[in-house]
Symmetry: C2
Amino acid sequence: GSHSWESLLPDFPKGPLCKYRKKASFNWKEMAVLLDGKDIIQLKNRIFSALESDPLFVHHPGEELSREKYQELTFLRCKRLFEYDFLTQQEIIENPLKIFHMVLCIGMYDWSPCIQYLLHCAVILNCASYLLEFIINTPDFEAAKFWIGNMGKHATHAVVYAQLYTPDGQYQGLHSFLVQIRDIKTLLPIPGVVVGDIGKKIGQNGLDNGFAMFHNVRIPKENILNIAGDVTAEGKYSSSVKDVKERFSAALGSLSSGRTVITAVSMTNLKLALSIAIRFSAVRCQFGPTDDEEIPVLEYQTQQWRLLPYLAATYALDYFCKSLFENLTEFYLGLLTKQRSQRQADIGREIHALCAASKPLTSWTAQQAAQECREACGGHGYLAMNRLGEIRNDNDPNCTYEGDNNVLLQQTSNYLMSWMHCIRVPFESPFGTINVLQDYHHILDWKFTAMSVEDCMDSSVPLAAYKWLVCYLLRESDLKLSKEKQSGRSDFEAKNNCQVYYCRSLAIAFIEQTVLQRYHDYTHDPDIPSTLQPVLKNLSALYGLWSLSKHLAVLYQGGYASGEQAGRFIQNAILELCYRLKDDAVALVDVFAPPDFILNSPIGKANGELYKNIWGEVLQGSKTLNRPSWWTEFCINRPVAGRLKSKL
Amino acid sequence: GSHSWESLLPDFPKGPLCKYRKKASFNWKEMAVLLDGKDIIQLKNRIFSALESDPLFVHHPGEELSREKYQELTFLRCKRLFEYDFLTQQEIIENPLKIFHMVLCIGMYDWSPCIQYLLHCAVILNCASYLLEFIINTPDFEAAKFWIGNMGKHATHAVVYAQLYTPDGQYQGLHSFLVQIRDIKTLLPIPGVVVGDIGKKIGQNGLDNGFAMFHNVRIPKENILNIAGDVTAEGKYSSSVKDVKERFSAALGSLSSGRTVITAVSMTNLKLALSIAIRFSAVRCQFGPTDDEEIPVLEYQTQQWRLLPYLAATYALDYFCKSLFENLTEFYLGLLTKQRSQRQADIGREIHALCAASKPLTSWTAQQAAQECREACGGHGYLAMNRLGEIRNDNDPNCTYEGDNNVLLQQTSNYLMSWMHCIRVPFESPFGTINVLQDYHHILDWKFTAMSVEDCMDSSVPLAAYKWLVCYLLRESDLKLSKEKQSGRSDFEAKNNCQVYYCRSLAIAFIEQTVLQRYHDYTHDPDIPSTLQPVLKNLSALYGLWSLSKHLAVLYQGGYASGEQAGRFIQNAILELCYRLKDDAVALVDVFAPPDFILNSPIGKANGELYKNIWGEVLQGSKTLNRPSWWTEFCINRPVAGRLKSKL
């Protein structure tokens, strides 16, 4: 091709995957350039090749790393990442989205050094300086802080949230302080500090998580972190953010950045898992129409239905993550420029509501996808070398940290419920995500109107259904809450009783609708090249219908759908879209799969040489063909089979 | 109490779990005796205390075991299990169910030695003897056998399935041979054999799985295994099972035993995961009606709804596993006594259809439960020491080995579809599981008739709905298949196009209906003591409604349910049952939880001293409080924070 993107994106090696690559309806390089832009592709290439050329990042197939060694390696890799300094200040200012891409590229290699790196950056970002002296204490074992990243082994300072009492005895609420916990030369704990490692986790073991307890540890006054409030040299409390509401909005924003990152981390895990499972499915053959001919498992309806909706989800969520990051950038820009407007406060609330639901949606989707991909690859998926176990184990904490998913969803439903009182007046939110409620009463009368499968093949159909679903669940949740309160329950009890099937479903439906709305708008934009638009529209429709199908019972229950056909249309449209996308699946994965070195999965390699790749890796194991070191014990201790045998 | 079970089942230590234990509606010891019987409880006690007292089975908290060391330990433990010889021949004959309990008790400690032990037993069971000589070859790398248990490091002989050609050039089909692969004194491979370790897996790493390839290896004629056929001294093929159908039935039976074991293994994983998550939820407090008072997370509707249906599933599936084992025993008894009846053949087919669906149902339920339990325990669930990761990782292969779950479900739907032609004549199957189809036409006219939530609180309601569901999905699948064939598709294509939303859903609905039918009958038996019946009926209703709720869309779609109320009744009944069961949950777990030593999870300990247990374990780690071994590198290589800081 004569396009300039040719040099940016090298061709894949010839091999068994060519069959599907040739069948693709579009050029994967054109798609990559559309989605990321040349600038970002260059950045990715730069990062990926830096890691691949660096001996510190080399893989050791078949080698077992102890946790201590893995932590050491992670520390050294993290340090190297600081040295690489992938982005200049100018680049960040021109395109803050580059930070987002940089972090995810590193994470594709391994989340442990990536998160260690992020944690170091976060601490650095929060530094501040002051005068007086404080004393900090941990009342008991239960109050000890557990899980702090980097603290298990090597952090020298920690940001500690503590109840602040000023010398006049006044309680000033929760504040953060910078506390030294280890000597920076010896790494031994500072007197009065008990600090240690919390032990092995299910995943992310390169990261050392720790615990800390304090016994009468003095903290220099300058170490209070002045995000929202300080204490003056005279021991008086002052806050640069005067308005409690604004202070709250600022705090929400800082929570939102963590949740945005986790949303993106989870979406990246989707990319990794799908790259592996789809390439595997395209070359792994099993059974066939005759005894002689075996066909790729991707040709089976069940395999398509298990994997392709997650592929569509990956595309929709990738787009959503970028848009969310842009929303967050707007919010931070307002903070930095000290915006005091109502709009800035509204943005804080809206972004909080979005992240509090996008994190659960994306982390759960990735967790389920990792499990489905691992099963879809059968025994090969269960081999550690193929990385699906690592992806699942590393993704797992995304479901519970920075707020448990189920608890977070309440933040979003609370936000939505708070709009119920404005339902009769015109209103809009800064990012427009709740504007659907403007037509609340009207939408509640909508019905499912598609008359054929073909009618359902566009994402406008599930999108309309989602709008009804959000309004319906909002009404039901609101009614349920009123009923609970009327029956004399406390606010606490009433809310508790409205979660399952009501508020929880509402928050999930809302975020799915938002993701779909944005992706629908994007894929239907007339500026999308006509060469790419059909496949993007298919992805949008499949994501929408498949997500919606999990709410099908509610659509019937609430009267939006009725009769046997409605459900059948949706189901058949899902299967038809899976079928239409199967020949594009490998190319769709080629668009986002990182280079083989980064993906690090023999069954996910771009050459598709399944068995050669597996055997190559198996035989790399230094002891693969050796008898066990304990072979002499075997001869002395062989199981006494005779006894059992004689019995049977 | 003066009951004789008091001495069998010691009281639990006093502690924070007492609050819930006191609130339970029944005596957990009475329940344990009802479910298992004293004889089995004694067997369990014997096995559990043997393991606890044996230095070879001691736990090493905080210690990291290399894979090689873990495999060695597993081998020694497996060998010790043979020495323990927990069951006498007499005991096995009197109650074959004891084998089942013995295996699961060992598995509760660790699946690796348990499965190694089972594999050794299986090989021993298959021995046979004959004369001529054969030569075995593996054509290429792709044909190499991968995954063979025990073969990675220590197996000396393997059962190999190979295409048998007799000297007259006749192809005789697939046969099994006993092949020596390693020297029994040196553990070095036999010439012509390439045998090795396949590498690390996601779980079950104590078990050494291997691969093997053969190059012109001679096998003594006596090593053909005569389960279904032999070759005579003159090189002629002969089979003791003359009838092809019978031979097929015998082969199906041997597949069924593996799938029955996996069903039981998965059910046991449910017990382990629920024991940990429910005890944790009963003592872990978070938030509360006021700022001062925190309540156990088990009091939250969401937490109840996340966990208690899995608790109900554990009880229903536990009962089902025992009944399935009895079915299998009847089948094997027929084989051993050389039954040639139609009934014996029918049993073979029916048990095959049951296992091919119970294995997917139970392994998936356990996989989802392990994930839900891990998330429900938050960060504590993510700590490796609390074992939920291990349970999930060890359960994982149950979803794909001995037949991938999705593929296996086709066996069951094929069986059900095969009954369509008899639908107009009276028929029954030996275990009665398809007798529901006798009323097929009648049942298709049924409707959901409950008029209130209270109406739905018995498992008869979901059971009736399930009967309709099975008939409806059978009809729809049959229609769909006919349509596909009529449109000119080959049998292969037509079947492929009928899986998702049709045959696959049919097989799942069928097995859920069967599990529920058996559990409903059991819990409604007038012989159940009145002290235990209410809670058992609640479990049956919850399991039935919760499983059914996943098919709610189909109930509406097919016209069984209509209107808003039907779905609401089911949903509200699920929540009400969760609420009613929450005070019984700890006692229900006490019934099946193994002793602390076996459960091996600080947050799952019977004393409920959450923080003491965790800290006790954390501080056992030999290097918990040490600075890292690589501390000097830290001082040389500390991340150059300044550069980034200056930029921001």
